[in-house]
Symmetry: C2
Subunit: 179 residues, 2 copies
């Protein structure tokens, strides 16, 4: 099915709903009512439902957009001069940013049924960044891109349990260095 | 308030409910209905409620019992000849056992309001085991017992996201070694 072409005002409304939803999900998690999101976006509940038939659809759109941004950031680093530094900086930044966003944490940590939906681009670019750092000898060779996403989920759980414990991310980083 | 003394049959029923509850919580998490637990224990729902006024009370009793067992295991290791090996073996075993038990995972990973309730004995013995391994130079010096519990929560999140990834626990263990 082709994507329907949206009129300019409909596009604007969709973008406002998405931005409001990301803010609301980040603060309150998935429990936030759709009506609150509509109010925050300054549109009626009907406008929200016209673009997103359910809260799940809206949440998924928010996550897909955020993962697309992470994917772009990873791609830009693929020709960075120092593959190890590029990898560790990126890894740390994703954990720090995502830990501020409950929705992203929940999506990344959700059951395996959701895993297949994780943006292919994010998955591929993360794996490419990892492989480049492994080829440079900066990251242990026995982990895969899938493993790395599992470790990100773990790091987010640590951060939620013990907010601001940046030295605990260093434990993970040290564990990732070649042994 | 003094603990009420239970008659022998009441004690037996309480133990049966606790064992059934642990099994049910381990498999299905907190969503399991109390009626199912009563059926599994072979007692009436009234008997369950007599011992545990709410599902939360029952869940807490299960967790407290399991943490008491972990606390005992840690205490027994406090005079092990090799403090580093004792620590890493214990740490790995707790993660492997707890990862099979959704209830324990949820309790350990629950919001900070719950943290104060984590068995003092478990907390103290875990910290003592850690400090002994740090004094022996086997574990990095910049983490505390609180940090260690946060890392256990992280390791459990990794295990739930990617079951059976024991090599990912090794990443964490390597990160914990003195650098």
């Amino acid at each position: 099915m082709e994507k329907p072409v949206l009129r300019a005002d409909a596009r604007r409304n969709r973008a406002r709903v998405l931005a409001a939803a990301e803010e609301a999900f980040a603060t309150d998690g998935l429990a936030v009512p759709l009506d609150d999101i509509a109010r925050l976006a300054g549109v009626g509940a009907g406008t929200v439902y016209r673009h997103f038939p359910s809260k799940e659809a809206l949440f998924k759109a928010v996550v897909v957009e955020r993962l697309a941004q992470y994917a772009d950031e990873a791609r830009e680093l693929l020709d960075a001069p120092d593959p190890g530094t590029a990898f560790y900086d990126y890894f740390t930044r994703v954990i720090e940013q995502a830990s501020l966003n409950r929705a992203i944490c929940e999506a990344l940590g959700a059951a395996s049924a959701y895993k297949a939906d994780v943006s292919t681009e994010f998955r591929d670019n993360l794996a490419a960044l990892l492989e480049r750092a492994q080829a440079a000898g900066a990251v242990r060779a026995d982990i895969t891109g899938d493993d790395l996403r599992a470790l990100i989920v773990g790091a987010l759980a640590v951060e939620r349990y013990s907010p601001g414990s940046h030295h605990l991310v260093r434990v993970l980083l040290d564990g990732l260095r070649t042994v």
